[in-house]
Amino acid sequence: MSEDSSFAVLLASSVHDIKNSLAMLLDTLDSVVQTTPITNDQQRHQFATLRGEAARINNSLMYLLGLYRMQKNQLPLQIQEVYVADFLEEQIAANDLLFSIRELQVTSTCDQELTGYFDPTLVGGVINNVLVNAARYAKKNIELSATRSAENELVIEVRDDGRGFPAKMIESAENQHRGIDFISGSTNLGLYFAGEVAHMHRRGEQHGSIALSNLETGGGGCFHLRLP
């Protein structure tokens, strides 16, 4: 076995162990939250931190393995027909406890019959990460929407009513494919992963892309994903 492939096996089996622990942790945490009524803000904050950070660990693991495979050119895209409304609902459901602890209203606007062609596992990872982040900053509402643009692209957007993205982050989302800036730290790793996943989706010469923007009315940030 080559060094690379034995490292891949090691990495995959470690991730497997961590994910098993994480699954048990989340399962137990969820039943604790459900059987312990929240009585004060401090407790609410603690629960939100526990649930939110566990979700972040999970997402970080995903980038780690995903980016490793991307570099090795071993991350095949599994394109399939996806019913987008179902897909979005599932992403919300994955974090419903986090939303309910933080008392956030999460709504999704999407035609029930809208279909898209993409890798639901990879894109699901991207949207999940955006939602966990939004849950951290949103005040009351998170809105998801999906439409088909005039250029026949599938456009998925996630809006929150928080204080919006810092300018530097918006800029780094624009500068896709300049490679990853390790010096600036890992805070943008999720963004980089999202950009890569979007770019992997293509139809003819057209590639997918991501963008960040701030909403004019009352601040808040918006994440845009376009898939050809």
């Binding site: 098993n20 699954a23 048990m24 989340l26 999970n58 991350l75 095949p76 599932e90 459901a93 994955a94």
Partner: protein, 554 residues
């Protein structure tokens, strides 16, 4: 879907949870109970899972992909499908720890219905299961028809969904095309795949189209398509098998072997691929590789649905052939072969025919090791069991075939041919026995083999005189897979390769192939009618090799 409907559906369902962690099993079980399922079984490994499936008809199977050191979830799924323990109406959901779907699967039809990544919440599992159950309910009549092999009915039902343009429209196109394929209506299946591909490059349609092209003999198109899938890192390893098949059919055995080697490295446990690899490697004279593959087949076959005495015998024959060809008759290799034979004896101690075959094969090994006297002594000792050395007295044709092999090894060609001829007369209509006879014989003896040889000769001559050399290479390569000992076919293939290289310049792969053929018959006796022709071709290939090496050096 209405909540109440779902509850009713779930109440009737029987579920199986496969996971090696007791905590995970408990956690998933609690979730399923909350959905209203009451009949739930669990298994912690593949063996338990398969036993469960032998005894129950499950509606839902939730299986963790990584089950420790034992069989993984994909292998369980493949075994269940292969052994027809899993119906189309059952929903199989694979639970994976990796967010990326990097696990490979053998064939398109061995894909699970859905993947779910860990960790997941109860709500997510419910949404996924709801969708899967609704799909299985809606398409149950179609799946039932497919399970019953009533493809016409399945197609008619698919057409209803397609006309309604409902959410299962695409799924129904996929099932419909597959049904046409299974009915051998390849042009119809092809049309559907092409229509789908006009819209989107979906993998299942690409693979389906490639299979149709192969069946319809459009090998170049099929090769292009499968190559494209391989270049895309397709996770479905079947694609490598198809590309290898296409390559070997157009005569590029060397590439075919490389492809199978690669796929075997990724998924070393696919026994059918190992068998094919062993076959092709013997064909190209790569005995070391062949032996490795045979050993793997023997190991994987044990206690599985692929268990067969041939798994042991083929390995012994492979070792024995190596001994025959090597200058120094290494006694250790004889021991290696006998060790495998002992295993077969233990495994089949209650089957006298297999035991007899084992003993004959054992005698043959000594002939290959340059000790024909020992061989003859052993065959004589077996005489009472063989009654007489004649096919008519032997109930098992395998025993006679083995005896013919042994006589060939001892250099007693006439005795071998006599046995084969007798066997061909005894089983004129058994195609499998006919094939084996023709494999051993240096000229076809079976009824079908004789007819095919005449046709092969006619077409081959036609292709050569029309200067259609690639087609001729393809034709003779294919023929050689059925008649590996047929010297006339080998010489014709050699001629076609030479003509092609004369026209288009030498090529490493084709030169290697030509040299392999020469090596396989370089002991041809001087009194053989084809001896002179063979040596002319041999010298020509040597010249081509010299020129090629010089060009390379420049």
């Amino acid at each position: 879907m209405q909540k109440i409907d779902v509850l009713k559906i779930y109440q009737r369902k029987h579920a199986l949870i496969i996971d090696d962690f007791p905590d995970m099993r408990g956690s998933i079980r609690r979730m399923l109970v909350n959905f209203g399922i009451s009949k739930i079984e669990t298994a912690s490994n593949g063996e338990e899972a398969i036993t469960q499936c032998e005894n129950n008809n499950f509606d839902i199977i939730l299986c963790d992909y990584n089950l420790g050191d034992a069989k993984n979830g994909q292998q369980i799924l493949e075994e269940l499908r292969f052994r027809k323990l899993l119906k189309q109406t059952t929903g199989y959901m694979m639970i994976t720890a990796e967010t990326t779907k990097s696990m490979v699967f053998g064939a398109l039809e061995y894909q699970p219905d859905d993947y779910l990544t860990k960790p997941f919440t109860q709500t997510v599992l419910q949404k996924r299961l709801d969708r899967l159950m609704l799909e299985k309910e809606t398409l149950s009549d179609i799946n039932q028809a497919v399970d019953d092999c009533d493809y016409d009915h399945a197609i008619a039902l698919c057409d209803e969904h397609i006309a309604a343009k409902d959410r299962y429209e695409q799924k129904c196109y996929r099932i419909k095309a597959r049904c046409f394929f299974l009915k051998h209506m390849f042009p119809k299946a092809r049309t559907i795949y092409e229509q789908v591909l006009d819209e989107r490059p979906l993998e299942w349609a690409q693979i389906g189209l490639g299979q149709c092209l192969m069946e319809m003999g459009e090998l170049n198109e099929a090769e292009r398509l499968f190559q494209q899938l391989v270049d895309q890192n397709c996770l479905c390893l079947e694609v490598y098998d198809y590309l290898a098949e296409v390559k070997s059919r157009i005569g590029d055995i060397v590439s075919a072997q490389q492809l199978l080697e690669y796929a075997s490295e990724i998924s070393p446990n696919a026994i059918l691929r190992q068998q094919k690899l062993a076959d092709l490697s013997e064909h190209t004279g790569d005995w070391e590789r062949a032996e490795k593959a045979h050993r793997k087949v023997m190991k994987l076959g044990a206690n599985s649905c692929y268990e067969s005495p041939d798994n042991y015998f083929n390995l012994v024959r492979c070792i024995s052939s190596q001994v025959r060809m090597s200058e120094k008759k290494d006694n250790k290799r004889v021991k290696d072969a006998e060790e495998v034979l002992d295993r077969a004896r233990r495994r089949y101690r209650d089957d006298p025919a297999v035991r007899l075959q084992t003993d004959i094969l054992n005698a043959g090994v000594y002939a290959d090791a340059g000790q024909p006297e020992e061989s003859r002594k052993r065959i004589e000792a077996l005489a009472p069991k063989l009654t007489a050395n004649s096919a008519s007295a032997n109930p098992a044709p395998e025993v006679t075939l083995e005896l013919a092999r042994c006589y060939q090894a001892m250099g007693d060609k006439e005795q071998a041919q006599a046995l084969l001829r007798e066997l061909a007369e005894l089983y004129p209509d058994d195609e499998n026995i006919g094939k084996e006879i023709d494999r051993l014989s240096d000229e076809p003896l079976s009824k079908k083999g004789k007819e095919e040889a005449v046709e092969l000769n006619r077409r081959g001559k036609e292709l050569l005189s029309n200067q259609e050399y690639p087609q001729a290479i393809s034709l003779f390569s294919e023929a050689l897979r059925h008649y590996p000992n047929n010297i006339a076919v080998k010489l014709n293939l050699l001629l076609a390769l030479i003509r092609e290289m004369d026209r288009n310049g030498s090529d490493e792969k084709q030169l290697t192939r030509a040299e392999q053929i020469i090596h396989s018959i370089d002991t041809l006796q001087e009194d053989h009618p084809l001896h002179d022709r063979f040596h002319t071709l041999w010298e020509y290939v040597e010249q081509l090799r010299e020129q090629f090496t010089e060009e390379d050096d420049e």
